[in-house]
Each structure stands twice: as structure tokens, then as C-alpha cells.
Symmetry: C2
Subunit: 395 residues, 2 copies
Amino acid sequence: MKINILKTNGNARACLMETPRGKIHTPAFMPIATLGTVKAMSTDELKEMGAEILLCNTYHLYLRPGAETVSSLGGIHKFIHWDLPILSDSGGFQVYSLSALRKIEEGGVHFRSHIDGSMHFIGPKEAMEIQSLLSSDIAMTFDDCPPYPSSYEYTLESLKRTTQWAKQCREYHKKIKDTLQIPPTPPLLKGGEGGLRNSSCFVNHESTQCLFGIVQGGTYKDLRIRGLEELIEIGFDGYAVGGLSVGEPKEEMHEMIYFTAPLLPADKPRYLMGIGDLNDVLTAVEAGFDIFDCVMPTRNARNGTLFTSRGKVSIKRTEYKSDSGSLDPDCDCYTCRNYSRGYLRHIFLSKEILSMRLNTIHNLHFYFNFFRNMRKSVIENTFGKFKTQWEAILS
Amino acid sequence: MKINILKTNGNARACLMETPRGKIHTPAFMPIATLGTVKAMSTDELKEMGAEILLCNTYHLYLRPGAETVSSLGGIHKFIHWDLPILSDSGGFQVYSLSALRKIEEGGVHFRSHIDGSMHFIGPKEAMEIQSLLSSDIAMTFDDCPPYPSSYEYTLESLKRTTQWAKQCREYHKKIKDTLQIPPTPPLLKGGEGGLRNSSCFVNHESTQCLFGIVQGGTYKDLRIRGLEELIEIGFDGYAVGGLSVGEPKEEMHEMIYFTAPLLPADKPRYLMGIGDLNDVLTAVEAGFDIFDCVMPTRNARNGTLFTSRGKVSIKRTEYKSDSGSLDPDCDCYTCRNYSRGYLRHIFLSKEILSMRLNTIHNLHFYFNFFRNMRKSVIENTFGKFKTQWEAILS
């Protein structure tokens, strides 16, 4: 994993990440392909609109169809028909946010599947095995994500676990890369469809997979520093900041964004996890973050909330009933080129699948355009102006 | 509306229908764009796979978004982004099959909307007005469709209505075409979003719209003959057979298909309404029908039932879990070129929108290929062989 800083504008950076599967121009947005598909989109459509990397959720793919199944079908790229980079999260966040029951112990987390109630266990070792089976390009360490608010004591304990697990992830990831043939651990992972039942599937593991560490520490600056330093000592191919946008006030989130970004190694990719509200993105890019993921453009699209150059549009509103104009007159996406607001309203109210498609095309197109223009502004030394302009539109 | 018979093979015909908006090669299959979208598909995808004509449902579009709205947005073609021919049904069938409450009287049918329970009225006059507002290329007469089974007496009474309404449709359709500016009838159509509230919308009416008559008569041959002769006397641009596939045994349906087709004028398009099971299509093409519509390929796709050159596949079956093969090795559709059965099963079970898309692409591709090859067989005088081969696969 190489990252070349092409230009900085204050702390904001325009970089080029080079991976064996393709280049990523940053600041970059990763659409979320939870279960191996960005909802409503084909991968060819995503490529056409400029996506350079997708995010897949380890937790979801582990439960359905199972990491072994993905592996036996040729790995995540072949499985989902996407030959550019893929980042897999570690499953940590979903274990905490989706599972009704979870029990944290030293080696990992016991949790109940949100689908069928079956019991499962994921720890650093399993997270590395699963992501190896998926054969993503960027794997994430298995972390412990404290809820907001959490006491200093709890956050400290949690951070110690995160660091310990990060160390184990690093070791296990190296071991898998070195051998490419590590026997899995059936007793731990036997439950559900996701169980790892035989070792033959490790053949898909690619030795090019790199590993990012995740900085936790809640809203405590000294803990963020501590977590960060411990991760840097272990050494990762990139550094992510997690545990933000979990309920804390925006001011606190932005403070942590400004605080952590400059402390992350400048020569590695900096990834702000789960944040994609464009106001937050502007703050984070200003702070020095490179990559982002969020369900916002895709989920909002399916709910009929559309981003435009003049602010958000709720397409279901009666005023659009007979509106023959395009959704965003400044947009040249497929949706805006071919359909009226009146039609988009009609198919949204009729719950047509095409509505999900056209809305998602538009919102993702909008996001990719936003990121492209933001990058351009960094290169042209006008990021400050870009930020001010968009903050007025987004507010 | 011109139809050129290019080749016959027994009663089977390969024709070319010429309309101002484009040519239709028959035997032709019309995908159903109920509310102005073929579920899960974009119109560009449909065009790419060879669709030459779509069917839109008058009943559904009248209720949502309303014929006036479609008209004010430029008519059905502009509304749905499709510049090739569109056939609109008359709403008659849906009034009978979807509305919980309906009261038939001489001038038409009072019915309750299946969406919001509001009361509406459609008769021959309204059906012509609505279809004029939609600006479809082919309008259908408003008919009375008796349920199966119905007594001879009831079917006769119903047929008399159908003929009377057909006559009124013909007259009213001519009147609209002649004037292009007929004031609508607000008192009758005031309910719901679909009400026709002012006459300004008639500007969209295109004088090229043609009108097909619908032959009813249930399973009584003499009534079919009577209905047919009465329609021919009135004179239409094409003739459809309705009231089949409404619950009668297959043998009876096939008997009526073989009986009615040769009695329809040979120099006009012959349309068998609502029938698209491929076994029935083979029978109907053998009998001499030209055009077909059915929700089967699209609805089955969304239910995970896929047509292949080796028979039907239920994609959810466990046997496909780790199956890396394509759905149909003989198929070159987008789905079969890019995705494994294992992936298709996974996204179907996960209820992903992409599953609806990929399955629909495949099934429609299959249907269009089937129709193309069927047409080829008629032209090459091998339709009998084609029918026998496919009956073995489809059984």
C-alpha cells in the first residue's frame, strides 16, 4: 500500500493510493456493499460513476453467505463482479450495533446473529481468518467500540482490549500472509452458515492484502493519543479512526476529528470510519483525512431524500407531482438526464424498484462529484473556498 | 397501423407491424410496465434486450399518478423515458380483478380504488379519454370480462355490454382524434388523484393513436363468434382476445385459442391478452396470434424462479450455495455473463434489489430470445420442430 501525497492545502491532502487492484484518488468515498452489493446498484454502474473502492461488511458476509462460501466462489471480487479494490471492515462495529446479545471476553466477542439468533464468536484471529477468506484488499483490525457516553475507566479498559487485539490481528495477519495456508479453528466458528469448516478455502487468500489499524479512545484525547501511539508502534499499512458518530454531539465529533487527524502518520492512508455527512466530511478533509464510508447517500436515496446542488430534496412532496423539471438542473447523471421530478415522485410513492435505482444513481453521482471537486479544490489551493460554499448549501 | 405478413407456417405468422414510433416484429412479447416501469428495469435496459413495445396499465396510471399528471408531464412516452410504441390496456380487466367493490351499469363501472378506497367510474368514454391523455400508441376498448365459470346467460349479457361499449369507444376515439380537444367530464371522474379536472391536458393527445377491439364470450364458441363479428363490423385497427387464463382448464383455454385465432381478420394484428406461459404462447402462435403480454417473466424473476434452456431453476435452493457456474450456460445475458448461481442465490435470500434486477434481466432476455427464435422458426418453416423441442423442455 503506497500513498503519494500530491498536494496539501493546510492539513487537507490530495493523495494517490496505489494498490495491486487499482488506484484510489483521495479524498475518496467508499460506497457500502454490505452483503456484496451496493443496494440497488450494479458494480458496472458504480465503476461508470467513478467508484474506485467499495466497502464490504465482514459481519454480514460471515453470517450470509459465509466466508467459506465467498472463498469457494473465488473470493469477494469474483463473487460480486468487481475487480477494483475492496476494503472489508472487521465486523467489530456490527457485533456491537446489530447483535442483541454479546459477551466480550479477552479473546473476542460471543454474539447472537441478528438473523436467526444463532451464537457466534469473533475475535482478532477469526476476524483475520474471515477477511482472508473474503480476500479483500484492505482488512481492518478487530476493535472494541465503546458506546457513547462511556466513562473514562470503561473507555480505557476497552482501549486496552483494542490495542491487544490489534497486536494479535497484526501477528495473525502476518502469519496468514506468510503461510497462505493456516488451518482454521472449527470449534470457535462452527455456528450458522458462516462457520469455517475446512481449510481448503484458504487457497483464495491473497498475499497482497494489507491491514489497517483502528484508533479508539472515545472522546478522551489522552486515550486517543495512547491508542494511536500503541497502534503506530505495532505498525499498520493505514490508520483508521473509529468510534465517532456514535451519538456524541457534533461539536465533540468535530473536535476529535481535528485532534486525531494530524497525529496519524502522514505517509499512510487516514480513514475516518462510518462518517459521510458532507459537513462532517468537509471538516475531516480539512483535518487531513483521506478516505470515508457511509450509508448516507444510498440509504437516503431509498428513503427519497436526494442531494442536489441547491440542497436536499424530499422527492415525495406534493409540489413535485406535475414538475417536469429534472431533479437537479446542474446534474448530468442518468436520472437527471432522463427523468422528471414528477416521474421520480410517482415511482417513489409507488415503491417501484426503479425509484431505488434512479435515486441511488443520483445520490452516488452527487457524492462522487462532490469528492472529485473537493479534491480538485485541494489541488488548486481553493479548499477553503470550496468548504465555505458547500457549508452554505448544506446547512 | 400496418401489419405485413412476411411468412406463414401453417397458421403461425411472422409479421412486421409498423407504427409511427417504431416497428414491431411478431410474434412479439410486451413486458408490462404497470405503473410506468417494468419492475426492476430501466427502459434503456429493455431496449437493449430487444423490447419493441411495452404495455402500461390504464387502471393503475389513472389512480396513480393520474392521467392528467402523465399528460401534463408530456404523455406516457416522455414520462417513462421510452420512445418506442406503448400499448395501454383499457382498465377493464383490473377493475374486475383488483377492485373490492364494483357496480356495473350501462354506462360503465363504479369501483373502489384498491389503494385508498375512493370511488371511481370508468366507462367507454372515460377509458378513451384516459388513454388519450396517456397518449399511448395503441388504445384498447373498455370491455366487460366475465369471471370463470359464468353461465351462458350471464356471458351473453356481458358480451352485449362489451359490444355496446366497443362501439362507443370507437365513436369516442374517433371524436377525440378528429377534434384533439374534447372537454373531459369532471363530474364522472372527480375522485382521487386520477380525476380529470380540466381540459387543457388534452393537448398531448396524438392523432396517431390506434384502437384495438377486445373479443369476449367466455368459453362459449357461438358467443365468441358473435362478439368477433360485431367487433369486425365496427372495425378496429387490431383485434384482441380477452377473458382467457381467468381460471378455466388449460384444455379449454387452448381450445378457445385454436378456435378464435383463425376467425380474426388476417390483415390486422392479433393480440392474445394476458397470456405468456410459454406453452400457451406456442399454442397461440400455432393458432395465428401475433402479440402477447404477461407478468410471468418479471414476476417469476422477483420470486426467484428463472427460465433456462434446461428448464426452470428455483435459485434459492441449497444446492446452488457454492455453485460457481452461471445460471444458464447457454445464455449470454448480463446476469449469466457476470454472476454465479451462488451469488444469485445469496442476493435473492438477502432480498437485495440487485437480485430483482439480475433475475429480471435474465428472464426477459430469455423471453425475448425465445420469441426471436420462434419467429425465426416460422420464417424458416420449422415452427413445428421448434414447438415440439420447447414443449419437451417446458414440461
